[in-house]
């Protein structure tokens, strides 16, 4: 570690999480290996793309295009205690402190341009970037990535569910899209998203020399259906089983799978994930020896201190349920109708705007699952710099409280540890748990 970096690392360092499952250890190693593979193929002259989490990576995989996910690197920098360094770089460039952080930690790297101090040796030299509109800051942030990397950008826009909000029409539409997401999306939004994807395919073909095959995409989507099915079954089984066979930290290790969807390895990993959980459930093995309290942490984890979620397992018999990632949406990732896979993929993304943005959808689904999975309480990390995922919280909290599910709100950031007070946060959670103890 050089002196410059040493000087920026402050006292607090996050805690490492426990990994109980073999597949979790494998998943972490695999993610690192994939990064090496990208570098090795790149060394042979293959172009690499830098992409946003919402970009349909399954399509890139089906085209055999190399890519690197921005969010994955952001989480990695945070886990390696480098996020504050990169966020400070941005602030020194004149960007205000209260802007989006999750999507900008790697942007700090892009401005800094010092691979020798960056996690995993820094990012490769990209051929292009692809961004997508998830919320307001995405567009300028991706413009800046393109500029700082000196490469072209393709931009995918995303439409809102629009029109009249009067009475039943909107309600019907929202529920149609939510419930039958694989067969219904407002036609104009779907057509728009198909156009965005078609443009992206031409862009990628031009940049990389690779070609798109709808047949290949269907194969990937069929495999990803299996992955989603296993993930849903594993999550649901964990939720319904007492004691809960694993904790959230085990599930989080497998999150890296979302960065490489539809591969054979992902099917293998998801299957193994489900089977290991089932084995533990059958044998009555829990994450806590004496489970007393089951908590749902809604939102992202604090990537800089994943061990935080193991803190109360021994002392309070408290487990954080393995929600994977926004567990309430897992089932809707399964796409049964694959006659026109590209159109189906577009439909899935167009529909995501319902998931992200609509209070009525979010609150009902979350309440259902909190009850089914016997959550004693829900902790909400409120990330003020991210309206994408942390809007509709108050509506949902109100609904949960009304239905007898206690909640706690914590203000923090998923990657920015600069304002994180570990002692205070643990005290808050401890107090909350103590109110829930039987």
């Amino acid at each position: 570690m050089n002196q410059e970096r040493k000087a920026t690392v402050e006292e607090f360092r996050g805690e490492r999480s426990l990994k109980r499952l073999k597949c979790s250890v494998e998943a972490t190693a695999h993610a690192k290996e994939e990064f090496k593979v990208v570098r090795a193929r790149m060394a042979e002259g293959e172009p690499v793309l830098f992409v946003y989490i919402g970009v349909p990576k399954i399509l890139l995989g089906a085209m055999d295009v190399l890519y690197w996910d921005m969010q994955q690197y952001s989480a990695l920098c945070s886990a390696k205690q480098m996020s504050r360094y990169y966020l400070d770089v941005l602030n020194n460039e004149g960007y205000f402190r209260d802007l989006c952080r999750y999507c900008t930690v790697p942007l700090g790297y892009a401005f800094d341009k010092k691979p020798d101090i960056a996690p995993w040796g820094g990012l490769p030299k990209f051929a292009a970037v692809i961004g997508i509109h998830m919320d307001d800051p995405c567009m300028p942030i991706w413009e800046l990535y393109a500029r700082e990397f000196g490469v072209p950008m393709y931009w995918i826009d995303r439409a809102y569910v629009d029109g009249s909000g009067n009475g039943d029409k909107l309600a019907d539409q929202l529920w149609l899209e939510y419930t039958y997401g694989d067969s219904y999306v407002d036609p104009h939004r779907l057509d728009m998203m198909v156009e965005e994807y078609e443009g992206m395919i031409r862009f990628i073909e031009t940049i990389t020399g690779k070609h798109f095959s709808e047949t290949k995409l269907r194969e990937y989507m069929e495999r990803q259906n299996l992955v989603s099915e296993y993930q849903w079954r594993a999550t649901d089984l964990s939720g319904r089983t007492k004691p809960c066979p694993i904790s959230w930290t085990d599930a989080l290790s497998n999150v890296s799978g979302i960065y490489f969807p539809g591969t054979e390895w992902r099917v293998h990993n998801a299957k193994q994930y489900y089977e290991e959980i089932k084995d533990r459930a059958d044998k009555g093995i829990g994450a806590c020896e004496n489970e007393k309290v089951r908590l749902w942490w809604e939102g992202h984890p604090t990537w800089f201190s994943l061990g935080f979620y193991n803190t109360w397992e021994q002392s309070h018999g408290t487990v954080f349920l393995p929600m994977y990632y926004y567990a309430q949406y897992l089932q809707s990732n399964i796409q049964r109708e694959l006659t026109h896979p590209l159109r189906q993929l577009a439909r899935m993304n167009a529909r995501a705007s319902v998931m992200d943005r609509i209070p009525s959808v979010r609150k009902h689904k979350m309440l259902d699952l909190a009850k089914q999975w016997q959550a004693d309480g829900v902790i909400w990390m409120l990330v003020e710099s991210c309206k994408l995922l942390y809007a509709s919280v108050l509506f949902t909290r109100e609904e949960l409280e009304k239905e007898g599910v206690p909640t706690l709100e914590i203000n923090a950031d998923m990657v920015d540890a600069r304002d994180w007070d570990d002692t205070k946060m643990k005290a808050l959670v401890t107090s909350f748990i103590e109110t829930l103890m039987p």
Binding site: D98, L99, P140, D157, Y160, P359, A391, L394, F395, E398
Partner: protein, 386 residues
């Protein structure tokens, strides 16, 4: 009452039903409120309805809004949400919400949910008018489709066919408004300026509060007979340009123009200032096509692609206004203009325009004293450089 006094009155009493809507509604008219200048007023007018700017009130607080709207929504939207939930706009028949930015667009879903939970809430019907974020061909065509859908919706809502003739007439009227407002902008660029920032902001905002044809007559009267009767502006005032978040009230401009060192706001790139009148609608092509073009290709809103074009526009506007300094004003959690700021600052420096940024400001200025002190220090640096 002079025309300018009328503008002041409309600005000051912009929530007052008796002033802004009573006559219209008593004649059976429909009022369509909008919170953002992306709303196509021309379609609303062609449907025989009254377009009306809706804003929050810095003095209202947000206690009702805060129950469901998270504090990290932009404060102008939180205050407008408060106004809507507390019935301040109960005379507005339809709230047209253009998807201008996340806070504005999400307000639509929040209002929908509020009404679903409590049907007795006193705000009108709501409509989300979607926009995409670039000027690419496919996005312009998508916007066109959404405009057509809005027009068809309004035809049903107002019970009146929106004809091309009515659209063309509305376009002529709003173009006339823009043409007249450009004259106001020119008078601000004069040396010394003929119109202050505080005066100009009220003039521009009044154009969104008074029926347009009536407003145009008042503005002509103002330009012909009243400009010279305004209080004279000090020749030694430092010329400031304002950039950043939407400014829909006078607090900030009043602070800037009442300092120990005289300063005057000679222009701005913000939503309710000069940007509103920058781009006319073509009268040469089919009106719906012309409207889709205008609202897609007009001078860039902060939410639009791309940074370079946006910064160029803003800096050019500051240069044309012969600004000596620029004040960048960012409301809390308003990310979009903030991402452009470092580039904008550099470009301003190239043009020898000094700048200062006030980041993360509340809707009701919470520390005007501190802002005054900082601004006076900033003005001193400009004076020292002259």
């Amino acid at each position: 009452m002079t025309a300018f006094e009328t503008f002041q009155k409309y600005y000051k009493d912009r929530w007052n039903y008796d002033l802004v809507a009573k006559d219209w509604k008593e004649k059976g008219g429909i009022v369509i409120g909008y919170p953002h200048i992306l709303a196509p007023e021309e379609i609303i007018m062609a449907a025989g309805c009254l377009p009306l700017l809706m804003t929050g009130d810095p003095e209202s607080g947000t206690d009702v809004a805060d129950k469901h709207m998270e504090y990290f929504f932009t404060p102008d939207v939180r205050h407008l949400y408060q106004a809507l939930l507390t019935g301040r706009y109960n005379f507005v028949d339809l709230v047209c919400i253009p998807a201008g930015n996340d806070s504005v667009a999400r307000m639509f879903y929040y209002l929908y949910e509020e009404k679903r939970m409590d049907p007795s809430l006193k705000f009108g019907e709501i409509y989300l008018l979607d926009y995409l974020h670039t000027k690419f061909r496919t996005h312009r065509n998508y916007n066109f489709g959404r405009f057509v859908a809005f027009k068809e919706y309004l035809e049903q809502f107002a019970g009146k066919k929106v004809t091309d003739e009515a659209l063309s007439d509305a376009i002529k009227i709003t173009n006339e408004t823009k043409r007249l407002l450009k004259k106001v902008a020119e008078l601000r660029r004069a040396e010394p300026p003929k119109i202050s920032g505080v005066e100009a902001l009220q003039i521009v905002m009044a154009s969104m509060l008074i029926p347009k044809a009536e407003y145009n007559e008042l503005l002509k009267q103002f330009l012909e007979k009243e400009v010279d009767k305004l209080p004279p502006k000090k020749a030694n005032s430092i010329r400031l340009f304002v950039s950043g978040s939407p400014i829909d009230n006078l607090q900030f401009y009043t602070m800037l123009e009442n300092l120990a060192i005289p300063a005057i706001v000679v222009g701005e790139d913000t939503a309710f200032g000069n940007r509103y009148s920058d781009t006319p609608v073509s009268e040469e092509v089919e009106p719906m096509e012309a409207l889709a073009d205008r609202y897609t290709y007009k001078t860039p809103d902060p939410m639009m692609y791309d940074i370079k074009a946006t910064v160029n526009y803003r800096v050019k506007a500051a240069v044309e206004a012969k600004a000596q300094g620029e004040v960048f004003f960012q409301l809390q959690w308003d990310d979009m203009p903030a991402w452009d700021w470092p580039d904008q600052k550099k470009e301003l420096e190239k043009n020898e325009i000094q700048s200062i940024a006030y980041e993360f400001q509340e809707y009701k200025l919470s520390a005007p004293g501190r802002l005054r002190t900082r601004t006076e220090a900033f003005l001193e640096t400009i004076t020292a450089r002259k």
